[in-house]
């Protein structure tokens, strides 16, 4: 509730970011950022998935439809996937998905795939800081937001 109030106030606008993190690398990387107390904005909300390849493009559409301002998918580095090849599928699927979203008016800067290993707490925090800043500059996502989803 209060989130919405803040959002309406342009000066303190904060973007809503959904981050899908694979269980083995990126989620652990996010935990490491926590262990090392490396701050990033609270705008980032993490959803844990077993592998980045579990992220169905429809999840991303849904997030934008419901008012997310940016979506980031984090997985293991190429070659390091816990399931050997999952992140390669992610890379291909998402490059298609993101160009389609671009066509629909969701700017390329609002979507991202990043490889973050379990040892890269600092990279995780830096990535999130950078992504939040980029999305914040773009402002609210109005193109795909479905007002029927809002009460």
């Amino acid at each position: 509730m209060s989130m919405k109030n803040i959002e309406n106030n342009n000066e303190t606008y904060r973007p809503l970011i959904v981050a899908f993190c694979c269980n083995w690398c990126s989620y652990a990387g996010a935990d490491l950022a926590g262990n090392n107390r490396l701050a990033y904005p609270a705008d980032v909300k993490i959803i844990r998935v077993p592998c980045s390849c579990r992220v169905n493009p429809t999840f991303i559409l849904r997030a934008f439809q419901r008012g997310a301002d940016g979506v980031i998918i984090c997985g293991c580095h190429p070659g390091d996937c816990h399931y050997t090849s999952g992140n390669y599928y992610t890379r291909r699927r998402m490059s298609l998905m993101f160009s389609m979203l671009d066509y629909l008016g969701i700017e390329r800067e609002r979507t991202r795939v990043e490889w973050v290993s379990a040892a890269e707490g600092a990279k995780f925090a830096a990535t999130m800081n950078d992504f939040c800043e980029t999305v914040a500059k773009l402002g609210k996502n109005k193109r795909l937001e479905d007002l029927r989803c809002k009460q």
Binding site: S2, M3, R14, L16, V18, Y27, A28, A30, D31, L32, A33, G34, N35, R37, L38, A39, Y40, P41, A42, K45, I46, I47, R48, V49, P50, C51, C53, R54, V55, N56, P57, T58, F59, R62, A63, R66, G67, A68, H82, Y83, T84, S85, G86, Y89, R93, A125
Partner: protein, 664 residues
Amino acid sequence: MQRIGVFVCHCGTNIAGTVDVAAVSESLGKEQGVVFSTHYQYMCSQAGQDIIKNAIAEYKLTGIVVCSCSPRMHETTFRKTAAAAGINPYMVEIANIREQCSWVHKDTISGTEKAIILGKAAVAKVNLNAPLTPGETPVTKRALVIGGGIAGIQTALDIADAGFPVDIVEKKPTIGGKMAQLDKTFPTLDCAACILTPKMVDVAQNDKIRIFSYSEVTSVKGFVGNFDVTIKRKARYVKEDVCTGCGACTEKCPQKKVPNEFNLGMDNRRAIYIPFAQAVPKVATIDPDYCMMLKTGKCGVCSKVCTAGAIDYKAKDEYVEEKYGAIVVATGFNPISMDKFDEFAYSQSKDVITSLEFERLTNAAGPTQGKLLRPSDGEHPHTIVFVQCVGSRCDSCSEKGKEYCSKICCMYTAKHAMLTRDKYPDTDVYVFYIDVRTPGKNFDEFYRRAVEEYGVHYIKGMVGKVSPEGKKLMVQASDLIAGKQLHIEADLVVLAAAIEPDKSARPLATMLTASMDTNDFFTEAHPKLRPVESPTAGVFLSGACQGPKDIPETVSQAGAAAAKVIGLLCKDKLTGNPCVAHSDEMMCNGCSTCEKVCPYGAITYVDKEFRMPDRTTRVRRVAQVNEAVCQGCGCCTVACPSGAMDLKGFAGKQIMAEVDAICR
């Protein structure tokens, strides 16, 4: 409708310092399905767990949300708590409000808001959770070891010692591997045969171990605990159970000019042969490429001289099918080919040899009975040049050699140089090196003895060219420390060839769905924490097939792999991960898309009968997931064009609900 309990943890001040835990608990208490919500100082403590257990009993909870530290910390703890109180452990979800909230956000307002949102996402997910039970599969209590070098031998002996039957599949006619070809071994200089052959005999005599020599694995199906393996037993034209190994045939066979691979082609053997005196099994083998009887039907000498009647020219390749619970890969290594290194004149002069050939030249059972003689003219060499790193540590020339360090060459070259100086003090020995790498117990001391006690000339620099001139080999090299060019007239040049995995390893890896690195060494499940397991459950790694290794390291890895196998075979049943894929047969159209993306080959197709509305039946092909093989990556769920595949525990609807809760 679920009855959900929410438990917010303070984690001392770790969470409560930034997050208003009371507000989180209160706010989540109003969420759909939540019938109880509380907060406590340390949820993972005994008292905290008791709060959960009591609430489960009192409020008849069906689902639990714990807002606490990362699920990577305590998910298992809270699942056990739930199970102890009688609800399915997979009805527990964790909202990570410590590592991913209180520790990274300093502001209480936004931290608390985020914690509430993460909690709401977890509640939304639990609302859609279903109890899951891990599948159980029985374990076949027999292990397969592929490769019969020292790695395979040690692994097999250790597994058999624990009481489990083991089969060794070795592609050569005898087990023993490279170690059987070595003379003395660093760093103690005990003779390889003296320490290896007793182990080979142990293998032969152990009634728990079967040896399939001269055999190869041709297909592997199944999964951890239940592998179905086909082994091809190549025809050796000698009945293994009848041959006494007397060797009469190998003396009488008229085909005398067959290059002897055991001595790396430096002498000849017959068309029927026993690789070496201590071979296990000690059985003759006919080489079909050279046997006149097999090629032209004329000869038959061996069958006449064999008093045991073991010869069988009509033998055929046989295929055996066996079941195993665990598979150990121990396929070892080979020195790389010297074809691309013609600057060292390997193909031009017989007196340029590899280090493994040097081992045979100094071995009492080798082609010269252990006397160090030049292969070209049988004369004693007075100047020997050893060249290290031939094909190892190649950066720029990587299409020519290997980028990695072969690890064993510095030590065996020091050994060769030392032994030469010891036996033939009149010989000048030069060693050219990039660096001398001798980490290992008593290794550096060993190398220093070669320099200080035995007077070996170690020269930092690379050899540029070796050119045969008359009876001599002209060696052009640079001495990097003195900063000058050297010209040495040598009688023998020994190349420390890089080592690479056996060529058969790549197809084997495909069969096993085990992964390999770019150099074709098998990759371990974790480079530090799981060094002897492959990422494929039930497949283990032993010896130089996983990376360059000397014997002490090989043996310790072999023992570790055996321990892992024993741990697996001790179990009567394996419990799997219940978060696996499953297909909705009504929606599946049998398109095979999911099968193609599954990295584990977990998906197969079955023909199923379906009742149609008009009461007729129709047979349709549908996808079926083998729950014991599926690792739960979820790749197939996204690939499926029909939306038939879903992942238990991470179902599409559950993740959607989390997205909704976050974006609400």
